[in-house]
């Protein structure tokens, strides 16, 4: 299945792209997607346990992903 990973701010700069399509096995968890991203060039600067959102809502790293999900890896926020 395919999951879209969105990257922002310093994470987007590290991986050189604002989004990455990931081909994952059915039943893959958020943590599997993160491991895949960290293995990519520049991905080493992502934390092992980053803050994430799935389909626009904050999610846990053990959440199971579905085909077509939008996974966002959220760097430290700095609004206000």
């Amino acid at each position: 299945m395919t999951v879209t990973a969105l990257l922002f701010a310093s994470y987007a700069e590290a991986l050189g792209a604002p989004s990455v399509e990931l081909a994952l096995a059915p039943g893959a968890k958020v943590s599997d997607a993160i491991a895949r991203l960290r293995a990519m060039p520049g991905g080493g600067m992502l934390p092992e346990r980053p803050v994430v959102a799935v389909n626009l809502a904050y999610a846990r790293l053990d959440a199971v992903l579905g085909a077509g999900d939008e996974l966002a890896v959220i760097p430290p926020v700095a609004g206000g």
């Binding site: 310093s10 959220i74 760097p75």
Partner: protein, 145 residues
């Protein structure tokens, strides 16, 4: 109640007018502006970048939670994105309530939640030409706070 992520200038006074009503005794307007110095470094300008679709949702949720907790629907919040110059408004929060204590608490709650969970990032541009994504937790740690 109204919340928005906007890419144009914020007019804080307009937000205040939007929440005021004859039934409201107290209104609080919080305005965050771009500071010329952050953690001792001279700032020349900055850029806010949002995960727009999620930020819209989170901001609406933050306002709805404050409305339920403090008992007022008279809440308007705008957060700006894009490039901002010194002194420009990055965020404005207007709250009206019959009682001032609740108005203050609702206003404070909204800005704290917004800073904790709104998916927005800030890149500061310094006088020396460098620029950097701000990590508030790291900045606090380095300042020994």
């Amino acid at each position: 109640m109204r919340t928005a992520i906007v890419s144009r200038a914020i007019d804080p006074a307009a937000l205040l007018r939007e929440v005021e009503s004859h039934g409201s005794g107290a209104s609080i307007l919080f305005v965050g502006t771009v500071r010329d110095v952050n953690d001792g470094r001279p700032v020349e300008g900055l850029e806010y970048k949002a995960y727009d679709a999620m930020a819209e949702r989170e901001l609406a949720a933050i306002a709805a939670e404050a409305a339920a907790r403090f008992g007022t629907e008279r809440i308007v919040v705008e957060h700006r994105t894009g490039r901002l110059a010194l002194g420009e408004t990055s965020v404005a929060i207007a709250v009206s309530h019959a009682h001032r204590g609740a108005a203050y608490e609702a206003s404070r709650c909204i800005i704290e939640e917004l800073k904790r969970r709104l998916p927005v990032w800030k890149r500061e541009e310094y006088a020396d030409g460098t620029r950097e994504w701000v990590d508030p937790a790291r900045a606090r740690a380095e300042a020994g706070r």
